[in-house]
């Protein structure tokens, strides 16, 4: 399915009564008071399945695997009492113990998402892995002979997976680092299992934040936009404007996520299950490069869409300029935000809830209220160490300035003062190596 077909279909797309976003977004409006974190195991199962291109064979299930494993072990052990201990260790309580053995078993969790937000996080993050090379699974190094039997039994449950790739990356730069980082984690299975929760949480936030900040610059391919964090131990004094304004600016952008992405749905054949979904900037780049005649055709089609979109949502016809595709894109984006910002409308309420769920679900661990210092974006030490290890990557150590660049690639920016504080932090951790007194000769080592 091509971009062109999607755009052509936009001319006659049916505008639904309800606004919806089915792609690119990891969170939706929060329903109810309870804050539900995504089920990390299920998300991880999904991600690993795609990264390894492996899935469970049809007809296999955790129950059947349990049975097969127990039969296998009881042949070797033949001691009923001890077998019941094994049953308890590995298979009771939702097989809690089994998932501590080695990451492979998490494939049992793929597709087991019970809540909506788990599914969304899994799909969107998993999407970034689809178009990227397969990663080889590495089993946990701490496996004993007993657990090796389990893993061996497990191998007969797995088959190759060739996932469809139905959504294009909205943030290719993010997809790049995400895939790199996941593959790094895969080569340190023990570390991965300890840090999965943080890893998913971190990327869920970074992806969402960068998506929001890149939404309006649809004229160009997305890049990592400045988003300033401070360490949780640092002071956010008033002269640090980058730090103090970061969160408010970000929340402003997040407010446009749901409106703009819901309009984008119409440019991607919402009723066609087979269609590939493209980001807004790709639509624009595509149109711009077309020969005049084809461009004209799509331009007219988009104008039709704009008109019916505005009418269905009860807006006056667009009064501004529409003579180029760029104008139409601008009009669509501002129509979307206009619809969601009408006072006392249900859309406004919905969007407020979406923003609220960003704050409470996605960004919870990264926001800190400093009272008089206002709310700031923070990076706590656990996330920071994880991020550092990811950034250093396959190398043993990285020059400090390059490390800061790697952070930026992942959407994490630090101002000068924080960079100084970071050095002190690494010094304390003990993974800093100075080759001279010069700030250019400082290296940061991995801690895995």
């Amino acid at each position: 399915m091509s971009l062109k077909e999607n755009l052509q279909a936009a001319a006659s797309v049916e505008i639904k009564d309800r606004n919806f976003v089915n792609h690119f977004l990891t969170f939706r409006q929060q329903r109810g008071e309870k804050i539900s974190d995504p089920d990390v195991m299920a998300v991880a199962g999904e991600l690993l399945s795609i990264a390894w291109r492996k899935s469970l064979k049809k007809g296999t299930s955790l129950g059947k695997f349990t049975e097969a494993s127990m039969t296998r072990l009881s042949k070797k052990i033949a001691d009923e009492e001890f077998e019941s201990v094994l049953q308890h260790m590995y298979f009771d309580d939702d097989a809690k113990g089994l998932f501590q053995v080695s990451p492979e078993f998490m494939l049992f969790k793929a597709g087991s998402a019970s809540s909506g937000n788990t599914r969304h996080v899994g799909t969107v993050l998993g999407n970034m892995l689809l178009s990227r090379p397969e990663v080889a699974p590495v089993s946990s190094e701490n496996m004993n002979f007993l657990e090796a039997e389990l893993l061996d039994e497990f191998q007969s449950c797995v088959s190759e997976l060739s996932p469809p790739d139905a959504t294009e990356d909205y943030l290719p730069f993010m997809g790049e680092v995400f895939a790199e980082d996941l593959s790094l984690l895969c080569s340190y299975p023990g570390y991965m299992m300890q840090n999965l929760k943080a890893f998913v949480g971190l990327y869920n936030f970074l992806y969402s934040a960068q998506l929001a900040m890149n939404l309006h610059s649809w004229r160009t391919e997305p890049t990592s936009k400045p988003l300033y964090f401070i360490m949780d131990t640092e002071r956010a004094s008033s002269e640090r404007t980058y730090v103090r304004e970061a969160l408010n600016a970000l929340l402003g952008y997040v407010g446009d996520l749901f409106p703009v992405l819901s309009a984008l749905e119409y440019l991607n054949q919402p009723d066609n299950k087979e269609a590939t979904r493209f980001p807004l900037w790709k639509h624009f780049q595509y149109i711009e490069k077309l020969p005049d005649e084809e461009k004209y055709e799509l331009h007219q089609g988009l104008k039709c869409f704009l008109e019916s979109y505005r009418t269905t949502r009860g807006r006056e016809p667009w009064g501004g300029e529409l003579s180029t595709p760029e104008d139409v894109f601008k009009a669509i984006v501002s129509t979307a935000t206009e619809i969601f910002s009408q006072a006392r409308s249900s859309q406004l309420t919905v969007n407020r809830k979406v923003v609220a769920s960003f704050e409470t679900e996605v960004a919870r661990h990264f926001i800190q209220n400093r009272k008089r210092g206002g709310r700031v974006l923070i990076m706590n030490q656990d996330y920071l160490l994880l991020l550092t290890n990811l950034a250093v990557g396959n190398k043993e150590k990285l020059q400090y300035q390059q490390l800061i660049e790697e952070f930026k690639r992942r959407g994490v920016w630090f101002d000068q003062q924080s960079q100084q504080a970071l050095i002190e932090f690494y010094e304390r951790v003990g993974n800093l190596e100075r080759m001279s007194d010069s700030g250019d000769a400082v290296y940061v080592r991995k801690t895995i």
Partner: protein, 522 residues
């Protein structure tokens, strides 16, 4: 020049702190050449030049700022500049439209076109910058820098002399301390007519009651110098402090000409990183009964005749000064090997022992000389391995007995019994002369694990663990290495052919025998 002015030229803020090819006034030149301490790196440098560098060679003399790169180049410029090109200014460019890296690009271009070897004094950081952003046409140089970072010193036409390879401190038996700093302190304070500072001091008799002169007199004590060097060594070991020649000169200047009495200038001065590190070793921070008592009693002005008598003796020797109780503690620390009056101050000597550093130095030496395997084994078994196992089993200390915790699966603990011991063979290869750490080598069962670095902080941690301390996840400092080592041990232990399972109400063992698993309760 008077004493004060001469002293001023030692400060890093003085105009004389930076070497250029220009000559200073005769007074200053005399002091500089008197104070100059020839170092091994300089000898190597001169050797290299005497052997005539081949055409096309670039010799990088690299170090931190203030190490003395320019000073070495300056001293030998006259003799060697006919045959070699000297370049002292690798950290800046002279043109507004050019940055330092571009200036280096241009320098190397010129070098390629000339037939003289090039000698560059360069900061290591600057060299890394060049490696990252230098022009592609100098790829060979950039690659050589890469190899230098990895440890090579001669890469084709490029040679590197690095100050880091000639550490100012040594832990070798009989040479513990710093030859360089000891010599410098001795020169600064020598009571000889050759010493311009001492000569100026003598000429200035009417001022001898002033603080600066008092400090000079205190610093003239050899045992004070020794203790200062030792304290600096501790700082070097614990805080990885850089000591450039310039920083040491400045440090000496601050000792004598700082705002307060020498004891306070050493431990509670507020200028820069070195002072910050030194303040952590302040003897006032020690909590012992005698020290506390002294501080409290002095603060309450409780009379103590012995101390009053000692004070009179002290003032007769070094000069009259009012000191706070804390300053007195610092004074007792530095003067503890000096015979003075009733020797009141020596009552505190035992309270000032730095056991952890002495232990570290001791074990470091054992690792390097390997002369006393028995003692070494004692350290491994009683300290290192004991603390590693204690840390590994921290969650289940009672459950696993003398085994090693491997994993927990839904409330059931798995352990194995493994033998861990010193790997004497690996020890022979793994220790170079680095002083901030030594490499420990362990064998788990018959498998060696990669030797890992032990620093003072690490050693301190192992001793604290043995004493009952349990590091937690927020206590990141050096725990990382500990966790890493335990992880490696567990990895090997997991492959054990006998496993133990522990649960409330039962222990089982499982043996791997001929493809059969034999389970038993015990």
């Amino acid at each position: 020049m008077n004493f004060h002015a001469l002293l001023g030229t030692l400060a890093k803020s003085s105009a004389q702190a930076v070497s250029t090819l220009k000559k200073h006034s005769p007074d200053i030149e005399a002091l500089r050449s008197y104070l100059y301490v020839k170092t091994e790196i300089e000898t190597r440098f001169v050797d290299a030049l005497n052997q005539r560098l081949p055409i096309g060679t670039i010799l990088f003399l690299c170090g931190s700022s203030g190490d003395g790169k320019s000073e070495i180049l300056r001293r030998h410029y006259d003799k060697f500049s006919v045959d070699n090109r000297f370049y002292l200014d690798a950290t800046h460019s002279f043109k507004p439209d050019q940055n330092a890296v571009e200036a280096l690009d241009q320098l190397f271009d010129e070098h390629n076109a000339s037939n003289k070897p090039l000698i560059v004094g360069i900061n290591i950081g600057m060299m890394f910058n060049f490696q990252n952003t230098g022009a592609d046409r100098h790829a060979a140089i950039k690659e050589a820098i890469g190899r230098f970072i990895k440890g090579d010193r001669d890469v084709g036409r490029y040679r590197f002399l690095s100050f880091e390879d000639y550490p100012k401190f040594s832990l070798e038996e009989g040479k513990v301390g710093s030859d360089f700093i000891s010599k410098l302190l001795a020169k600064v304070t020598a009571s000889s007519s050759e010493n311009p500072l001492y000569a100026a001091y003598l000429c200035d008799e009417k001022n001898h009651h002033k603080l600066e002169y008092q400090n000079y007199r205190i610093l003239q004590e050899e045992s004070v110098q020794k203790l200062i060097v030792k304290t600096l060594l501790y700082v070097r070991l614990k805080y990885d402090q850089f000591f450039s020649a310039r920083a040491i000169m400045d440090f000496i200047h601050n000792l004598i000409a700082g705002d307060s009495i020498l004891f306070d200038n050493l431990f509670s001065s507020s200028s820069g990183e070195l002072s910050e590190s030194l303040s952590h070793l302040d003897p006032c921070l020690r909590r012992t009964q005698k020290i506390d008592e002294f501080v409290v009693q002095r603060s309450l002005n409780i009379s103590d005749r012995e101390f009053e008598y000692f004070k009179i003796e002290y003032q007769a020797r070094y000069g009259a000064v009012e000191m706070s109780p804390r300053s007195w503690i610092r004074a007792f620390y530095l003067l503890r090997y000096i015979d003075l009056g009733n020797n009141y101050h020596q009552k505190f000597s035992l309270d000032f022992e730095n056991i952890i550093f002495e232990d570290y130095i001791n074990i470091w030496q054992l690792h390097h000389s390997l002369s006393d395997k028995k003692k070494l084994r004692g350290f491994y078994n009683k300290t290192l391995i004991a603390s590693l196992t204690k840390f590994a089993n921290r969650l289940v200390p009672k459950l696993v007995g003398d085994g090693l915790y491997l994993a927990e699966r839904n409330g059931v603990t798995i352990s194995a019994t493994v033998s861990i011991g010193m790997d004497s063979k690996a020890l022979e290869e793994s220790n170079s002369g680095q002083i901030h750490c030594f490499k420990a080598a362990l064998k788990v069962e018959d498998k060696s694990i990669e030797p890992f670095p032990i620093t003072v902080s690490f050693l301190e941690l192992t001793e604290r663990i043995l004493a009952g301390y349990r590091p937690n996840r927020h206590d990141k400092n050096t725990v990382v290495i500990l966790e890493e080592v335990v992880e490696k041990i567990t990895k090997i232990a997991s492959k054990s052919k006998a496993l133990y399972f522990h649960k409330d109400g039962g222990d089982w063992s499982l043996q791997f025998e001929d493809d059969e698993f034999v389970a038993e309760t015990y």
